[in-house]
Amino acid sequence: MTSPGQLEEYWGKTRNLMVTTLVLWFVFSFVVHFFVNVLNSITFLGFPLGFYMAAQGSLIVFVVLIFWYAHRQNRIDEEYGVAED
């Protein structure tokens, strides 16, 4: 097994990825939608963009974000030799 120092480094990286993911989550859950009125003046695929972001855009981001996170976290696990066999 890995040494305590390495474990700390592992958890540091894991935490950074976690924070990055949560920041993106926050942006697409809340920040984007604060500007719904501004975005609604833009038309995207026939939709007012502000409406589109809440109805589809953010949802697509969430799905991709989780798969991206799972992939990155798995790479970190392998790098530090703590992935499952």
């Binding site: 939608h33 589109y52 969430f62």
Partner: protein, 613 residues
Amino acid sequence: MQQKDAFIANLGKIYGIYTGGFLGFVIFLAILEQLGVPNRIIGYLFVFLTLAVYAGIGILSRTTQVSEYYVAGRRVPAVYNGMATAADWMSAASFIAMAGTLYALGYDGLAFVLGWTGGYVLVAVLIAPYLRKFGAYTVPDFLAARYSGNFARFIGVVILFMCSMVYLMGQLKGVGVIASRLLDIPINVGIFVGLAGILVCSMLGGMRAVTWTQVAQYIVLIVAYLVPVILLSAQKTGVPLPQLMYGEILQRISELEQQFGQPGGYLEGVKPHVQPFLSYTPANFFALVLCLMVGTASLPHVIMRFFTTPSVREARKSVGWALFFIFLLYFTAPSYAAFAKFEIFGNVLGRDISTLELAQQLPRWIYLYGNVGLVTVCGVAATSAEAVFQACQAKGVSVLNFANFAINNDTVVIATPEIAGLPYVIAGLVAAGGLAAALSTADGLLLAMANALSHDIYYKMIDPAASAARRLIVARVLLVAVAVLAAWLTIIAPAGVLSYVSWAFSIAAAGLFPALVLGVMWKRCNAPGAIAGMIAGAGVTLFYIIGTYAYGMKPWFGINNISAAIFGLPVAFVVTYVVAKLTPEPSREMQEFVEQIRIPRGEILMEDARKAE
């Protein structure tokens, strides 16, 4: 063992054949309908054949092993666990009522779409992998191990019951309504028909049976949700992609709203569909989004699905799949709302109804659903052209307008087949989908509650020496007991209570989220802190809900009680932090235990689970 692995290896084939069989079954019924078989028979065939399939899966998945019963042997691949989670998650409310909510609220209704999807990011990052590594059977299991003892376990069970019971009652009501409509029986009888289906699915095989039934139910519900609106989109726009085409429909709705929304126009008083914050203030909108998201990440019946994957890695991926399968329904829901609104604004409202003949020319579905009290015109149920004509005459209404036309939220999805003029078999399909959605969620909730009683209360607190066989018998007896209790409560409960399923999210969020997350992220978090936080969070949330709902308490900062966790959640975090800081830090062993939870490699940590597996 060998046999089970063969089953896992052939999952794709099995469910592929199943899906093909289901589509063939729908086509077969469509042919029967053309041959003149009455609608009622088609309704019966839909209900009983789908129920028989779910029950069959339940019986085939029976088990006598404890770990199979509680966590499906931890062998469920990520994709299938994703499908099962999606079915577990999407309730009768998502399937039937969400599109109607979007119809009524326009943009503001999207708070539900956002809230009920974004929460899965929190599940993936903060909850699922760590609880999977710990290897719990139930959520209170984790609380007990991390916060040294049965007091934390007991508080966890109480909160679990508070948020799951109302939720389960909502599902049973949904099952009753759908079964009664399709089979033409009283709702209360329908509830017991549904209950029988739920019990056959879950009693013999526990989590294992529920998992494979939920996958089957997901397939039925997603087909049933997508087919009508795809046909409707092809009909209205020429392109069978409702999710893309409704952008154009939204523009046409906006044109109608502008043209006829002025004083004197037939859409006077309408709230423009795409304009935000007309029903909710921005504060309420974002508070609701947050509460639904955090609640998603704390509801025990959802979290426990991620205990069933073979590894931590699969648990993470499986959250992604779950959200993908949920997304397929949620990004379609707003298109149902848009197509229905366009039809009603463009083809129903604005019609001249000054004579009886003209009232008779209103689309047929209005009277069909008016007869069951779901469509109201000029203040009366639209049971017949005569009733509508007389009521509107009495009110001096000669042109049907926005103010005098109301449609129940549940009707939007259910009525779409008739609005599009599709054959009855599609309406039956939608009902079968709604039934699948309600049953699958009820299965998960029932199991979460019964497992908390049998595993946490009976085995862990009352009789830790009980043998595996005895534990499974107790688990099954309690499952039936909780089911009957829930059915009885559903029948006696006042109708208003059931519409407040959303309260469950706030209670779960404030009661469980801080204890679960801090338990992994903050080693210094100790038992007194977590317990105080759980009690304070759930307490403040309940106080706010009950105070504003029953005792006329003034809302704080104008926040609706549906978002009560916006107060409970920060209180829970602060109380946990302060109390933990004021009391001694957890033992060295406990801190090492947390470090073990944080890395995927190694044995699962729950002693009992290791022995059993």
